[in-house]
């Protein structure tokens, strides 16, 4: 009877060159393998990318690099980026043996187009047509800034299965049929197990025979699992990661946190006096100690330090930095800030900075109480600002209230993230786009929380998205950088990362700084590429 047990082979907790343990600190899951739902276990743990594949493999660590062909052998964009012609690979099969066709791809796009609920990126689909092995998609607006994400992060599903599903936004997709190298073996709220396909995959099968995705209940549990070796790959914030994680097995335990083109920083409400003065904001930017924040709040790795004055992380943003800012790094410069303020008419009275009208400069820094890294960052900013006489107080807000207040512009300054994408456009758009700006008191969920009003920036943002040539884009981006640097609508601090904590004890071949071929985060579409790169450590 023992051999019948589903647990018979699973008892050995770690190691072995047959399986890889993957973890996310997302709590118990319910059986849901729907690749379109961010709430599904597949998305939450990331294994949807092992079952379903994108058309192209885009590397968010090096967003400017061309995307690798994957289910598609190529994609041809029209110059205005409102139309694309995709050639679908002809040697791919679904796990039930049927061939992957252009029909399937077209069906997938139409499915998303028809269901707002699963059109998470609000992609402006026009017409989708399939002819032979090509699919042509038109769009209502330029896809330039979205193109890589769209191609690289849309899972392609088989038409013959999904056309029977009445509501793709509610279906748990209990028996997933995909084109990826793995199939579902078992599911429990705690662990999902995938096993490698025996045949029919369009490229060499990965060496990892089995993937075990465990959903740990929280960061603590995930960290513990990582440090005792029962989990080998995860994306989790580990405070003091050296002591807590690396030191447990310095030879094998590794952390890699490559930045992407999305950042975290201090949004300043530019409608409030005296913070409507760019000089003041500049001065503030000059004293914020990003390094301290990086080391103390982000444990020295989690939100990689942004050194460039443009707020663009390195290396992901390096290619986009305007010539005038190349190599220009932000450093803490208290005397400089003081001088700048002096010039602009501010007076430092002992420990208090008075604005030109004589009022002391005060502000409240606010973030939800539970977000410990932001809270820590705010504490650091507070003490930084004190050095130039700005009195800041930290408000630990309720999360809901914070969301509402930030969107409605009811704040002095707050830490928040920006959107991310394949170009810096997303970053600047989130911070400075006049189109999404709403008056104070009206929610502006699309961005520009600081109510930064700059027609030049708004125009540059639109130009960049709709431009039909690279030169125009470069010009627009350079303009955006200039405005960002000079007006400081937001003080950039750290980048978003798509990194991982992992162990090389059993498997090697992970991406790292020397070979950043993909994102490390197991929930990214790249994860599939990473798994395909893995080799047993002892071979």
């Amino acid at each position: 009877a023992c051999s019948d047990s589903p647990n018979a082979g699973n008892k050995n907790a770690s190691g072995g060159n047959t399986f890889l343990t993957v973890g996310m600190p997302n709590g118990p899951q319910t059986e849901n393998h729907n690749p379109f739902l961010t709430t599904s276990a597949g998305a939450s743990l990331g294994y949807r990318w092992m079952l379903y594949e994108p058309l192209m493999m885009w590397n968010p660590v090096k967003p400017a690099d061309p995307a690798k062909p994957w289910l598609a052998t190529g994609a041809e964009w029209a110059p205005d980026f409102k139309k694309v012609t995709i050639t679908v690979r002809d040697n791919a099969t679904w796990s039930d043996g049927q061939k992957v066709t252009a029909e399937d791809v077209a069906f997938t796009f139409n499915l998303i187009k028809k269901n707002d609920a699963i059109n998470l990126a609000a992609t402006p689909y026009g017409e989708v047509t399939a002819t032979g092995n090509t699919v042509t998609v038109t769009f209502k607006s330029s896809m330039f800034v979205y193109k890589d994400k769209w191609l690289g992060q849309t899972p392609i599903v088989p038409k013959h299965v999904w056309e029977k599903i009445s509501d793709p936004s509610k279906d748990p997709n209990k028996n997933p049929v995909g084109s990826g190298p793995y199939t579902l073996k078992s599911f429990t709220p705690q662990t999902t197990t995938l096993s490698v396909r025996t045949e029919g995959y369009w490229q060499a099968l990965p060496q990892v025979k089995e993937l075990r995705y465990t959903s740990y209940t929280d960061n603590n549990a995930q960290t513990t699992a990582l440090s005792d070796g029962s989990n080998e790959w995860s994306f989790v914030f580990i405070p003091n990661y050296k002591t807590v994680f690396l030191d447990k097995d310095p030879a094998h335990y590794k952390v890699w946190a490559p930045p992407v083109l999305g950042i975290h920083g201090l949004y300043i409400n530019t409608t409030k006096k005296p913070f409507d003065d760019p000089k003041l904001r500049q001065a503030m930017n000059m004293v914020v100690n990003r390094e301290d924040i990086f080391n103390q709040a982000e444990a020295g790795y989690f939100h990689p330090l942004i050194t460039s004055v443009t707020g663009l992380p390195s290396p992901a943003g390096d290619a986009f930095i305007a010539p005038e800012y190349k190599g220009k790094n932000q450093t803490v410069d208290v005397p400089g800030a003081k001088a700048l303020l002096e010039q602009a008419g501010y007076k430092l009275n002992g420990n208090t900075l008075n604005d030109p009208s004589g009022k002391p400069v005060k502000l409240t820094l606010t973030d939800p109480s539970g977000w410990s890294d932001y809270q820590t960052s705010l504490e650091i900013v507070k003490s930084n600002l004190a050095e130039i006489g700005i009195q800041a107080s930290v408000d630990k807000a309720n999360q809901d209230a914070w969301f509402r207040n930030v969107e409605e512009g009811n704040f002095d300054a707050t830490f928040r993230w920006t959107n991310g994408g394949s170009t810096p456009w997303d970053i600047y758009q989130t911070v400075m786009d006049g189109k999404v700006m709403k008056p104070i008191g009206t929610a502006a969920p699309g961005g520009n929380f600081g109510r930064f009003k700059s027609d030049a920036a708004t125009k540059a943002i639109a130009d960049y998205a709709n431009a039909s040539d690279d030169a125009a884009r470069t010009t627009a981006l350079n303009t955006l950088q200039k405005i960002f640097v000079e007006q400081v609508p937001m003080i950039p601090v750290g980048a978003d990362n798509v990194g991982m904590a992992y162990s090389t004890k059993n498997w090697v071949g992970w991406p790292d700084d020397t070979n950043p071929y993909g994102a490390g985060q197991p929930t990214q579409a790249n994860a599939l590429d990473v798994v395909l790169h893995l080799k047993p450590a002892n071979s």
Partner: protein, 361 residues
């Protein structure tokens, strides 16, 4: 933590003899009101509680550092500079504990006071007025009793945005009065039938005067015990809320400290000093309050007092324990023992003769 430690609360009144002042027996003096302070447990509890109150008042002044202030020593173990060590930001944990005392005590006392007022209002009204008032008020308190309090508090607190200490105290107060109300109602019911209440009524006292001057003074021990019990509950609830990251957010309390310790995985880092002091502070406060409650319990029901001396030596040098059913025999009688001849104890004779069939006459 959630099981009320006070037996006054634990025991369903009317079924146990608890919570009922011992009926005064003819000739035996009733115990004096404030005698319970002389109770060792209560005194210990009161002293410790007094210390906490003191720190609640002077905490922020005696704290060596600003609890928010960052220092150069990050996650440092206890040292001469930082007696309780520091956080990942170099904040002084001792200062956080000291400053946090006020928030904890304020919420605890405020919630306790609110719940006590509600329970007195509802319980005594229901018990004294009886009839329809009683039916509806008892139903209300029974509902509140059965609805699980902590989840309710968590949900309400989480859902009410921007809440501060006041809100937390209000919510805890509004959700935890039911026990007290039930105990008080039962007690009032029995008090209402006491002759002195009836006598006051027969003498022409007005209803409100009877409630306030005749009934309430006799409920003080129970009210106090309920208050202390609610304070314990309120303190743990508040800390719990802070620990899981909802509720009071704008000020330091011990739960906040533990929240940070937990989110920074102090355990995994080996930074025991980060969570031990706050936890001990809670535990000692809880113990002090429980002790006070024991004191009240024992005051209300003197039987519960563990007898000071329970073991005695007999003349023969044997140690005998006082126990129910077997009164110890000592032979240290002050009167001279006139009948000196010891009677030989015949164990065989001690076996009763079976007389069941025998006719006795």
């Amino acid at each position: 933590m959630t099981i009320p430690t006070s037996s006054v609360e634990q025991v369903i009144p009317g079924q146990g003899a608890m919570a009922q002042p011992e009926p005064a027996k003819p000739g035996r003096a009733r115990r004096k009101r404030f005698r319970f302070v002389a109770n060792g447990k209560a005194l210990t509890g009161l002293i410790v509680l007094g210390l906490y109150l003191l720190f609640a008042i002077i905490g922020p002044w005696v704290a060596p550092y600003d609890p928010d202030a960052r220092g150069p020593a990050l996650t440092a173990p206890p040292s001469a500079d930082h007696w309780f060590g520091t956080t990942h930001l170099g904040q002084d944990i001792l200062s956080q504990v000291l400053v946090g005392t006020r928030g904890v005590m304020l919420v605890g006392l405020a919630a306790g006071a609110l719940a006590t007022i509600l329970s007195v209002l509802i319980g005594v009204t229901a018990g004294y007025l009886g009839g329809g008032w009683d039916d509806s008020l008892s139903a209300l308190s029974n509902v509140f009793l059965v609805i699980p309090a902590l989840p309710l508090i968590i949900i309400v607190t989480a859902a009410a945005p921007g809440g501060g200490d006041t809100l937390v105290a209000l919510i805890i107060g509004f959700t935890s009065w039911a026990w007290g109300a039930r105990v008080l109602r039962a007690q009032t019911l029995s008090l209402r039938r006491r002759e002195y209440v009836e006598a006051a009524r027969a003498n022409g006292e007005s209803t409100w005067r009877i409630i306030i001057f005749e009934i309430l003074p006799n409920l003080t021990a129970i009210i106090a015990s309920g208050f202390v019990g609610t304070v314990i509950f309120a303190v743990t609830s508040e800390i719990t809320l802070a620990f899981i990251g909802i509720g009071s957010v704008s000020s330091w309390n011990w739960g906040t400290i533990l929240f940070w310790a937990q989110s920074q995985q102090a355990l995994a880092q080996g930074a025991w000093w980060w969570f031990v002091p706050a936890g001990l502070a809670i535990a000692f406060l809880g113990t002090a309050l429980s002790l006070i409650n024991f004191g009240i319990d024992e005051f209300v029901s003197p039987r519960l007092r563990s007898a000071g001396k329970t073991k005695i030596k007999t003349a023969s040098g044997r140690t005998v324990r006082m126990r129910v059913g077997f009164t110890p025999v000592l032979s240290n009688s002050s009167a001279p023992h006139t009948h000196a001849r010891p009677i030989p104890v015949n164990t065989a004779a001690a076996t009763p003769v079976n007389r069941s069939k025998e006719a006795t006459q």
